[in-house]
């Protein structure tokens, strides 16, 4: 770095921190400075460096993808992570800000390489070391246990998703991204679930991976210009009941406390409205997917 480059950098530093530093000289890569530096900013910088140079800081950087594979391997050993151990990431999301990370640390931290890190007031990451053959059962049990504990101890709503087990810290980001995707997909399509595995996302995963433009094209094809079915609550209730009962007219009529003929009449009315006869398997699949795509687009609009 020459003196001019150094001056540019110091100028940036002054702007970011409120410092008043000037470059006096530069020799052997070391810059001699003159001026003032705010004490509180200095303390914050030291804290940041310390945090980054910790187990937690290291894992945070890994999850955020800030290290290359080689860098992870180099540092993993320093922080006591084995390259052979099995890990999985669980994502914990509370509806309200709460002390779930503190609470869960009391239960799970200290057991192997387990680590619980708050991301913000509402969510936390749990990196769990796995042992034994039934890894998925263990993960599911842990996730359910987290939900029960937060529900009973903090009396707060909570959802837990988890990614696939991986070997070594190098692959941990993969498990984290899977857990994140599971949380997002469940938030759109499977709102009734509290525990979500990345391996149980079904058709929701497929839709959540589709580009919005493609979804819009699909809706355009199915619903026309409006790109949306305008279905009443009663119609949606009938459709859901019919799908839940595996397209059985008798079961659906019983569930809805209506006569089978009334149900048939309503299905025909729906056919006139949508052009889809849900007694026909292909049409039933199309409507099911269209309703899911519609939900996905609504979610995307709300979160854009």
């Amino acid at each position: 770095m020459n003196k001019r480059d150094a001056a540019e950098k110091i100028k940036d530093l002054n702007e970011l921190t409120g410092a008043g530093l000037k470059v006096e000289s530069i020799k052997n890569g070391d810059i001699t400075l003159h001026g003032t530096f705010p004490a509180d900013v200095l303390v914050r910088i030291i804290d940041e460096i310390k945090a980054a140079d910790s187990r937690e800081g290291f894992l945070r950087a890994v999850l955020e993808g800030r290290f290359t594979e080689t860098e992870i391997q180099e540092r993993a050993e320093r922080y006591g992570f084995s390259a052979e151990k099995r890990y999985a990431v669980l994502l914990i999301e509370q509806s309200k800000a709460g002390a779930s990370a503190t609470l869960l640390s009391e239960i799970f931290a200290g057991d192997g390489d387990n680590l619980i890190m708050p991301i913000n007031d509402h969510s936390a990451i749990f990196i769990k070391e796995l042992s034994g053959k039934k890894e998925k059962d263990m993960l599911n049990k842990t996730a359910e246990s987290i939900v029960s504990t937060v529900n009973t101890e903090l009396m707060e709503k909570v959802r837990v998703s988890y990614g696939r087990p991986v070997t070594g810290v190098v692959q941990i980001q993969e498990s984290y991204l899977q857990a994140k995707l599971a949380m997002e997909v469940a938030g759109i399509f499977y709102t009734e679930r509290y525990v979500i595995s990345c391996d149980e996302l079904g058709i929701g995963r497929l839709i959540a991976e589709l580009p919005v433009t493609l979804c819009e094209l699909f809706m355009d094809e199915i619903c026309g210009e409006k790109k949306k079915f305008s279905l009443s609550d009663d119609e949606l209730k009938m459709i859901n009941s019919y799908f839940d009962r595996n397209l059985s007219l008798a079961e659906t009529a019983r569930d809805l406390y209506i006569h089978r003929n009334t149900l048939t009449y309503r299905i025909e009315k729906l056919q006139k409205k949508t052009g889809l006869d849900i007694r026909n398997f292909d049409d039933a699949v199309t409507l099911k997917i269209a309703l899911m795509v519609d939900r996905y687009l609504e979610y995307k609009t709300a979160n854009s």
Partner: protein
């Protein structure tokens, strides 16, 4: 202590899934009420709505006189015990029970009083300084309950708290929970899929299926007078025998035609079938295994309902024997005296107690004869 009132409670998720439909129930103060039903029937969702862990889509929920639909879970004066409880492994029993209160910043002298009181109720005083590892499964479960008791709630909500325990411990803990209810005198709402647990613990049972209440009644009434085919089949183990029968009315008596035989029904049951216009229709005939007899005395006493069948399987359970056979191609079970001489391959004469016959509408599955 508190009563609860659930009026027209519904739960519809944003994806359109209807978990609970028009749930109506009045729960009296100090009642021990059980929600029972198969997986996915909406029992846990209802419990979670009472807890405030699930929003109520429509309807009214009152605890005491207070409408609590929009009240935060922690302000509802309830406590919960779930099946997947986790104890704090590095804390003593005392600290495990105290931790939740500490998080809520309850003064330490109050915590001490509450924990010691709960420990006394649960017989955990000698173990207060032990860590969870040094406790048995039952003791750990009691600690989990202690965490709920220290809150001194108006209502206890328990979601399958014994499901993780082995069979022997489950029976033991069932007795403990019954005792606990007597000692605390608090309203308890208990969710289970195990009908034995429901029958033995509850003062009343709510049977649910597909988000809908099927029947609310005392354990005895549920067993003796099920309102529909589902309740009849769900309550009781081995489950009630069901087979198709055709109704034939002759004068004031209704006959059920089963296996080339016409079984006359008692006057009251006959009257229901005649009034319902079931002549010539196929209905579902139900009889509990203990109401099917192989003893000569019963067979002689009930000549109108005697059938012959070949035994397929013989199961000795010590105090009783289950005999499995087919009638009109429908599988049947008889719960008989262990001194029976019937063995697989034997052709045995069975008699039904016609007073105990249940007849269900084939289409609606509702009871006709109760």
């Amino acid at each position: 202590m508190a009563s609860l009132s659930l009026k027209n409670i519904c739960k519809v998720y944003p994806n359109g899934f209807e978990a609970v439909k028009d749930f109506n129930l009045e729960i009296a103060d100090q009642e021990f009420i059980i929600f029972v039903g198969p997986s996915g029937c909406g029992k846990s969702t209802t419990l979670r709505m009472i807890a405030g862990l699930e929003d109520i889509s429509s309807g009214e929920l009152r605890i005491g006189d207070r409408l609590v639909n929009d009240v935060e879970p922690k302000d509802r004066d309830i406590a919960m015990v779930f099946q997947n409880y986790a104890l704090y492994p590095h804390m003593t029993v005392y600290d495990n029970m105290a931790f939740g209160l500490k998080l809520r910043k309850v003064p330490s002298d109050e915590i001490d009083k509450m924990v010691k009181e709960a420990a006394k109720i649960l017989d955990l005083v000698p173990y207060l300084e032990r860590k969870p590892k040094a406790l048995s499964g039952g003791q750990r479960q009691r600690v989990a309950m202690g965490r709920a008791i220290v809150r001194n709630p108006k209502v206890f909500l328990m979601d399958e708290p014994l499901s993780n325990l082995d069979a022997k411990l489950r029976v033991q803990m069932r007795i403990e929970i019954a005792k606990l209810h007597q000692r605390l005198g608090t309203t308890i709402i208990y969710v289970t899929h195990d009908q034995t647990e429901a029958m033995t613990l509850g003062t009343r049972i709510v049977v649910m299926k597909d988000g809908v209440i099927q029947q609310v009644d005392t354990p005895q009434n549920l067993y003796d007078r099920p309102q529909n085919l589902f309740v009849a089949g769900f309550m009781g183990s081995p489950q009630m025998n069901f087979l198709d029968a055709v109704v034939e009315i002759q004068g004031e008596t209704a006959y059920l035609k089963i296996a080339n035989k016409a079984v006359p029904l008692p006057p009251e049951k006959s009257k229901k079938l005649i009034e319902g216009g079931y002549d010539g229709k196929t209905v579902t005939f139900g009889i509990r295994p203990e109401d099917v007899y192989d003893s000569e005395m019963m067979v002689e006493a009930s000549p109108t309902s005697v059938f012959e069948a070949s035994i397929r399987v013989y199961e000795l359970l010590g105090a009783e024997v289950y005999l499995y056979f087919d009638l009109d191609e429908f599988p049947m079970t008889a719960r008989v005296d262990p001194r029976t001489t019937a063995r697989p391959g034997d052709v045995v004469r069975f008699a039904f107690d016609t007073e105990k016959i249940h007849v269900f509408d084939k289409e609606t599955e509702h009871i006709i004869t109760n």
